[in-house]
Amino acid sequence: MSVNVEVLASLARIALEEGDHEKIEHKVNQVLEAFNQLNQVKTDGIEPFFYASPEMTLREDVPEAPLPVEALMKNAPDSSDNCFRIPKVVGDIES
C-alpha cells in the first residue's frame, strides 16, 4: 500500500517543501511495512487497552484562579491588548 503524501500533509497541516515528498514517502512506507506485521495476529474479540492507569480521579468542580493572562500572552508570536494577532484572513469587502 502506498500513501498519498499530499493528502496526509494537508490533513496534518504541514507544508511540503522541495524534496520532502520523496523523503516522507520512503520513510512512511518503511514504517508502514513494519506496522503491517500486526496482521499476523488475530485480535477478533479482544478488548482494546487504551490507558494504563487503574483509576481516573476527577477533581471537585470548583473554579480555580486562572494563570495571569499577561504571562500567557507573553508566549504568543504576535498579540495586542491581550488578544492574539493573526494575518488578515478575509478579503476586502467589495462595494
Binding site: 496534518a12 497541516r13 523523503k23 516522507i24 514504517v31 494504563a52 477533581r59
Partner: protein
Amino acid sequence: MSLNAQLLHASYKELRTALDEKEVSSIELTQAFLERSKKLNTDLNAYISFTDDLALEQAREADKRIAQGEKGGILGMPIAVKDLILVKDYKCTAASKMLESFTAPYDASVVTRLKQAGAPILGKTNLDEFAMGSSNENSYFGATKNPWDTAYVPGGSSGGSGAAVAARMAPLSLGTDTGGSIRQPAALCGITGIKPTYGRVSRYGVVAFASSLDQVGPMCADALGSAAVLESISGHDVHDATSVSAKVPSFVALAEKFVVENKIKGLRIGLPKEFFSEGLDPAVDKVIKEAVSVFKGAGATVVDIELPHTKYSLATYYIICSSECSSNLARYDGIHYGHRTSKKTTNLEELYSLSRREGFGEEVRLRVLLGTFALSSGYYDAYYRKASQMRTLLRDDFKKAFEKCDLIAGPTSPTTAFKFGEKSGNPIQMYLSDVYTLSTNLAGLPGLSMNVGYANKLPVGLQLLGPWWRDDLLLGAAHAYQTLQPETLKGAML
C-alpha cells in the same frame, strides 16, 4: 582530596550524610556542580540552559532548612531537569525550534515537588525533539555526546539527563520515558534510571508526547538516589486525572530494608527468551548473564519465562505513540505560542502549515504524519484499534509472566552506545534500539535500568521489570546489586 573531587565520586548516601552532618553546604555543592557543568558542557552539550539564579536561591533556602535540623530526602541536592518539563519563568524548548523562545508560565507539578523537597534546579537538559528519538541526534540544539566516548550517542530521548549524571555534572536528574527514554540513555551512559508505574507521577506541566505512555522518572548514579527522587515527586495530583491516589511508600527505606533483610534470597527472576534472541550483541549478552549470576550467587532463583508477543511491541508502540503525538502536537499552530512563519501568508491554513513545517524537525514531522495516517478515516480500525488490542495481549503476557516470577531481567538495549549517524538514516533501525523497553510503557509497568559492566569499552545496562506498583522491588533489587558490585557506579570524565 579537594571538596570537589570528593563530591564528584560520592554516592547518594555519602552526599546525604555530608549535607546532614554539615560537612558541605547546599550552596557549595550547587556552585561546584554548576561550575563543572559549564566547563564540560562545551564538549558534551548535556544542558540546553542553566538556571543559576534559581539554583542558588534554592540552595540558600535549603541550607536554612538544614541549619534548622531538617534532614534526608533530596534536601539541598542539586538536580538537572529535562527541558521537556516546565520550570516557571525559565525557557522550556523541548529541544525544538517550535518552542525555542517559549517561557514556562507555571511549574510542572514535579517541579513544584522538587522545590518543596529543597532540591536546587541546576538547568534544563538536552533531549531528542519533543522526546522523539533514541540518540539525541534529533535535538534542534545539537546532540549531547556520550561522556564515556564523545564519538558515541548518549541514547535518548533523555540523553542530556543521562550524560549529565554520568559525567557528574549533576548528582541527580529528571527524565521522561515514553518507550524507553529514561532506561535506554541510563544504560548507554552507565547510570541508574527508573520509569515508574504509569500513574505514579504527575504529568502536569510536562510537554505531552504520547499521554497514555509518558511518565517522568529519576536518573542517578545509584538506586538509592533514584529512590529518593521518586519518593519526592510521586503521588496524586489534582491536575493529572491519571495520577493515582495510592499512598507513596518510602522508597529509600524500603530499598535499604531489602538489603538488610536479604530479600534477594529466594527472589524469582524471570528471563524472557525473547529478550535474548536475534539482534542482541553477544558482548552485551555476556555482561547481562554475569549480572544475573550475581543475583543467583546472592540466593535468587532464575526461571525461564515467555513474553510471546514481544516481537509485535515495536509496531504496536509506534502506531500508538504516533497517533497520540499527532493529536498532542496539533496545538502548535503558530498562533497561541511557539514558532510562527515569517513568510507572507494569505489564509490561516497556510499560516499553520508553514509554521509547523518550519518549527518541527524531520522525525517529529514523520511521526505526526504517521499518526495522522493511523487515525484517519478508513484506517483507524486497521491501525490504532488493532494496536490497542495488541496492547491487551502484551499486557496479558506480563500478567502471566508475573505468576512465575517476582521480577523480570534482561538487557535494556540490544547494543552498547552507537556512533553518531550510524542509525539516523533508517527509522526502523533506530526504533530497534528500544525493542526491550517499549512493551513496559504499553503495559504501564515500572522498569529500571542500571549499569552492570562494560562491553566494547562502553557501559551495559541491565533492565529490571516489576509488577504494577512494585517500583520498590526494582529499587531494592538494584540497591542490593550495587551493594555487591559498587564498582559499577563509577562516573565518566573524572
